[in-house]
Symmetry: D2
């Protein structure tokens, strides 16, 4: 199986979902190996590079794409199976951007207080040990942390002619910022426009749940994925599957609405998977769901809802596509 | 080490935090073995017992206690180390109570819609296999699930003379409904009144994160715990420690505020544990925190914030009390 | 008609709804003339008196009461008709209390930022002109504003044995902080305990909607009111009536839930007043409701929902009690 | 002064802010007389026309425009002064669209409940009496209500290349759904793209605050307005001025964030108008702001913050442009 390699130039970065001409047309079944820049377009390279001076929040999370998937029509389901994610630089960066993040007032949670001190942290990557190192800036501590690569941003073009910033998580995916978007995961997204027009970006060498300060260990990434198309059956909100879990992602504000969206979508999926009445799915999920917060910092907040397969009878979604993609991935 | 056994009568149940005379006075260091009734006071015993007919939401989550801890004063820290939790009946119950839960309108999320169908599920306990069985009521599926006992409700009397229903999670603990409140966990609570006046209840044979429908597998429980007192050093919000994690619990509405509270409390705790400046703790926790939602159904919503010890340098809280209590627990 | 005059001593102040022994027993029909201290218990007397040094947030909004109303039983409706409110001092005070208010982080909207500067403003009262004067503290401006007296806090004891701080607005009334609680208004509250146990306090010489900084022009007040009792018919949430409007008050978090609560209660009331189906009341109110925010700063946020009587056919609530009380008030 | 008359054809309707080619280029100072269709594109014409059958929520609030204002650049301020709004049909329509509105679960406030009954109300217009008549559908009541025309939707193209549905209220204006957008009001909007690209639509013959059911008395409208341009000085969020009030509009979720945004913008404006320090503006506004909720039903919720000019020293904004536009309007 061939893999199409793509490394975009800066001029080819996309900063929105929708509103951008297709970068490349591909057929379902294609494997891609995509380079993506970090959320800051690579401008934070030392602790002296401050976000307030170098980062323009209208142009972050540069996307690699969008890809036009031949045959994809509104109402179809796009499946993206992530095979591998490899750090593409030897360092990652994180920053406390003024008035951005979860433990500060923002342009939405508007207060009259001063911002927190603009601070940048650089995480050196040790490829041999597969770690990045946190080095405190205002105090004295250094901690080596395992690399756990993931993508903050995976999405398709929105419906209704909308165009949304790559800072936004929504029904169309986007900047969900969940550690679940990692190698081994298949992401199912409803197609809203012809060709689906998906893109990826915002690689994280690691991230805590909630992404408290608004930025992860942001790093350029090389992502290998396989693209598939299912006719019809578009989920209302993003669904994820890995070997261990059925998952959904809800994104809205306040955070309880993100949770409600994701939990209802999982109830709906359980109806399909197990033939369960919504009330029974609601009950069963009340006893088995795991509910990690994804982010509380983006334009919408995101919550992940997970059901562990090992607790449940065998079932398969979309004709067992995830298992099949796992096999195909092994041949790359 | 002796263990004080207590089985309250129905008349001895407490339904509030604060406002109740001490049930028993104990000294720090005491081990207790407490029987607690289920959230419904045991009235839902078959699928024909409906919550709308049998349950009065003003009198749920019956508490065993409150216990007056000798020497406890406002500003002190109460430590409750949970040694064991054993189902005290051979079945648990769960219910979709009309206008109560996360995927329905409620008295707060007020709409004009009809309620969901009032439904009760009974979970039979298999002690040999250590499982409870979900049996669908509106469709056809049966799933055997592992018993993972926990307490929904652990709290002390509130400050300022307030008295709160045992349905409420707050700064004083209470109905946090997190699966983290399980054997092996030490819970640290700030003391607000002389004697602390803590109580426990609302045993769950298992619960998913979020407690979507508003009720877990509710069951009578026998809980063994050790009570300790630390002079001063009251945390602002509940802190939990087990062998693997540092944890905090925030409770408020909307859910992002619960998250903010817990995340700030963990920043504060990391300042104590590692001497970190708040900005550095904020950054480090952004990359390592796990953030499971506890509940989105109670009078306040709750979020748990967890940091995995194995990622961090060695540290000890409250003079290493948790480790010491683990050892004492082994001798019971 | 006699008026019972009451001026409590400091020791007689109540700081909670519920949990306090009756201050006085009265019969329905009694007229009271009550002195109440300001929210700060009178300790902020000059711009040099800072809240961080002098105010303990556990003991603010001192209540005059509670009054035990003979014959009042759970399920009954207490009617409080406000006849007059007169400033009882020659100055009011307002303050930007650190980490309290709407445009700052708080213990709930928790961030890592520094607090706003602790500032006190004193408003001199000009009785002849019936004005208070705003004098800028950090800049140079002085503005004379009309006195529009109101009570921040009017409530009864909560149900279920709860005791709540006088900072809390809830189903039982409490610290709703709406300018609608003024002379000429009748407030209807559901009775939860025998005797109702109502109290009042937190006089404001004037207040904007939202009470943005968390404090109004706080002032000691002399309030004249008539107390009546309606058997049964308890509203779920506070209802207000004046000559011009039907009103309800919802209190919760987030603010949209406060709005939902109040709007549903007004739909319910319109069912009683006009025999309207809920869908028709919903539609009609969508076109005529006024919806001023009351506060976004208390333990719960509050919204007021108002329908102008002049737009509607004649109707009367509770047997026309408001009109009757207006007449009785004229005889005092 | 000439007035340019425009009546778009159906094919010329815009359904987004941004993403649409200019409908017409105009110079600052132009007066326009614009016909706009109702929110439903005129398809609900009798109570038998149901929204679930006839309305596609991706294509509502058809916009008349967008207009390219010569010379407008990012950072400039667009001023739209509304001179007159006249109902363009003899009836208006309102509907309880399934899973849309404030007292129902929605795609965001997701629950498992059934929708409310899909119902349409038609309001006949009496031009002589200047009223519309509410006629109950599920019960028996008829109420004649004054026509108070307003526009739900007024906005410019968003920044950052975004394109947003005309259902969305945001920083760029849009579907704010406030009764303040009426004849006599000047609306100031920050310009984000060359030409500003403003449009209007969603006429309401009247609307309550909150727009509870999600739809007002929706009606085709003929709107006369004067367009002006101020170089630079773009407000962060929409500002409104009429003869009596300084106003701002915040839009976000949860509703308290919409309030915070608007209140901070008014603090900022008061700094410009009166030279006030933010803390003093915060204090003064705490005592005088009126805070009507605009809507709790759109993609974002909106709150209006108003300060009454008669309470304040004389001041003028943007060089007294509003007063000048009032004079110009009188000459049309």
């Amino acid at each position: 199986m061939d893999v199409v390699e793509i490394v975009p130039t800066f001029e080819q970065y996309a900063f929105t979902f929708g509103g951008v001409a297709p970068f490349r047309r591909i057929t379902p079944g294609t494997a891609l190996r995509l380079w993506s820049d970090d959320a800051f377009c690579g401008v934070l390279r030392s602790t002296k590079d401050l976000a307030s001076e170098k980062v323009d929040l209208r142009f972050v999370n540069p996307q690699t794409g969008p890809f036009y998937v031949e045959g994809a029509e509104p109402g179809d389901t796009l499946a993206l199976h992530f095979v591998a994610m490899e750090p593409a630089r030897d360092w990652g960066a994180s920053a406390a951007i003024p008035f951005f993040g979860g433990l500060t007032s923002t342009d939405r949670v508007a207060t009259l207080q001063d911002p927190l001190p603009d601070t940048t942290w650089i995480y050196e990557l040790d490829r041999a040990r597969n770690t990045v190192t946190f080095a405190a800036q205002h105090s004295d501590l250094s901690v080596e942390l395992p690399v756990e690569p993931m993508l903050g941003t995976v999405g398709v073009a929105p419906p209704g002619g909308e165009v949304r910033s790559s800072l936004v998580p929504e029904r169309f995916g986007g900047n969900m910022d969940t550690p679940q978007m990692r190698p081994g995961t298949t992401c199912f997204l409803g197609v809203n426009v012809e060709g689906a027009l998906f893109s990826i970006g915002d690689g994280h060498y690691r991230q805590g749940e909630g992404e408290a300060c608004g930025t992860a260990v942001e790093g350029a990434m090389t992502t290998t994925l396989i693209v598939e198309l299912i006719k019809g059956r578009a989920p209302a909100w993003p669904r994820l599957e890995d070997d261990a879990h059925w998952m959904t992602v809800g994104s809205s504000r306040p955070l309880e609405d993100a949770w409600r969206i994701g939990q209802v979508e999982l109830v709906r999926w359980f109806g399909e998977l197990y033939g369960l009445h919504p009330m029974d799915a609601y009950q069963l999920l009340s006893q088995i769901t795991e509910a990690p917060i994804a982010n509380v910092v983006d334009a919408n907040y995101s919550a992940v809802l997970k059901a562990r397969k090992s607790l449940l009878p065998a079932a398969s979604a979309y004709g067992g596509l995830h298992a099949e993609l796992r096999q195909r991935a092994a041949t790359l």
